[in-house]
Subunit: 255 residues, 2 copies
């Protein structure tokens, strides 16, 4: 039986200021919780149905996380989603640690991506295409928002994220680097030669694109060619198409 205090604590973690105060966040659903247990995140506790505990007893016994039995109904009182989830975990957030660009690496930069579903999708897409670092503007939605974590489908465990003032970051880090920004009206993505030397790939806000503070650092403005009539692509989709073109070229080239 979940205590009132625990319910209150978990519910508080749906709000950013309480996540920051407690340095903790919620992970929901079997797939995400199993990936969490397989990661270097520190787990405070796991709430799980008896069925879940039986099904994954081997994995759970290897892990020293505190496990409390809960019912589906109990989980629904604390979960964000009505998905009949069989488990929920609370884990410690990581420090907002600086991320540098290594040789021959591409780092993704997000300038004011606001929608949690979009950020989660971008994390999943980055993980698919072998990007491990994302640097975000301070107004980009919080990585530890439960909707971000859910939409990332477990990929949040493999992606490092750093929130910072992007103009300051780029002024410091982008010297002699390729800084490729997705713009309407830029060079065709199909003609753009991604360098095997790596660089930054920058995606902007859902409505306004890349902001005026970041634009001066862009060395290459590229556009996803449009054949039909849709006005725009969703930023998660656009990120996938950018990374797909980068990866296709880089994989084909000798490094």
């Amino acid at each position: 039986m979940l205590s009132k205090n625990r319910i209150k604590y978990i519910n508080s973690l749906k709000i950013k200021k309480y996540r920051q105060a407690h340095q903790a966040f919620i992970v929901e659903g079997a797939k995400s919780v199993l990936e969490l247990m397989d990661s270097d995140f520190e787990i405070e506790f796991v709430l799980a149905t008896e069925e879940f505990q039986q099904k994954y007893s081997t994995i759970l016994s290897r892990h020293n996380a505190a496990i409390e039995t809960a019912t589906i109904v109990g989980l629904e009182t604390v979960g964000s989603f009505q998905t009949n989830d069989s488990c929920l975990a609370v884990a410690k957030t990581k420090e907002n640690a600086f991320l540098s660009l290594n040789e021959a690496e591409y780092v993704l930069i997000l300038d004011d991506v606001r929608d949690p579903g979009n950020l989660g999708t971008i994390i999943r897409v980055a993980d698919w295409y072998g990007i491990t670092k994302i640097v975000c503007s301070e107004d980009t939605t919080d990585f530890y928002n439960p909707k971000v974590i859910a939409a990332s489908k477990g990929s949040f465990t493999r992606i490092k994220i750093y929130y910072t003032d992007l103009a300051t970051y780029l002024a410091d880090q982008a010297h002699n680097q390729n800084v490729i920004g997705a713009f309407l009206g830029g060079e065709s993505l199909y003609e753009f030669p991604f360098s095997a030397n790596g660089g930054f790939i920058v995606m902007g806000n859902e409505s306004n694109g890349i902001g005026a503070g970041v634009e001066p650092f862009i060395t290459h403005k590229v556009t996803i060619p449009r054949v039909g009539e849709a006005e725009s692509l969703n930023v998660g989709i656009a990120t996938a198409v950018m990374l797909d073109n980068m990866r296709r070229q880089i994989t084909a080239k000798p490094n």
Copy 2:
């Protein structure tokens, strides 16, 4: 002031069987309603705030749709989303009309795509990449679901859709055609040569991929190469990457 009957009617259109009975569907939001007015859909009526009517008076005066003034609060009682939308329209659905494959054309086939947000995204992506026809299995989510319409961001006005038994359709239509299916473990999408002669591009269900009834018709199984560790890509994302690779090649090739 919205009448009770009108509120009841609009709310009924959130359910598929009433959309089918009334042959009508809901379109919400300024962008989507304006695109609707610019399309060949027959509009039953538009509910709009006075502000919206003033702002778009020229467009509205060119159109003979019945316009009723509503308040934001009134629109909220009938809308699906709490987005402070300034207008909502009800339009007539189109007949489920057969779609054939023209020469040098690519037609998208969806086998049991269940999530309305995914179908809306796919419609938007298809529209971006110049695909105008989508053929869906009968268990694919309803095109006229308000969530599909909203996620398509106006692209629903430019895409033709046809629901049918895919095995029967392909048995009839796929003779000597390329039928390219997205599979895990297929040929690399980066190596696959899309033909300028066109064909079908098939995307499967969110969890189970392309079903056993459709698989025998697939002539080419292709896979989006993965560099990182995410288990899968969302079907909307995967559709965009497939179409992007197709379009990049076809545009570069002489037809």
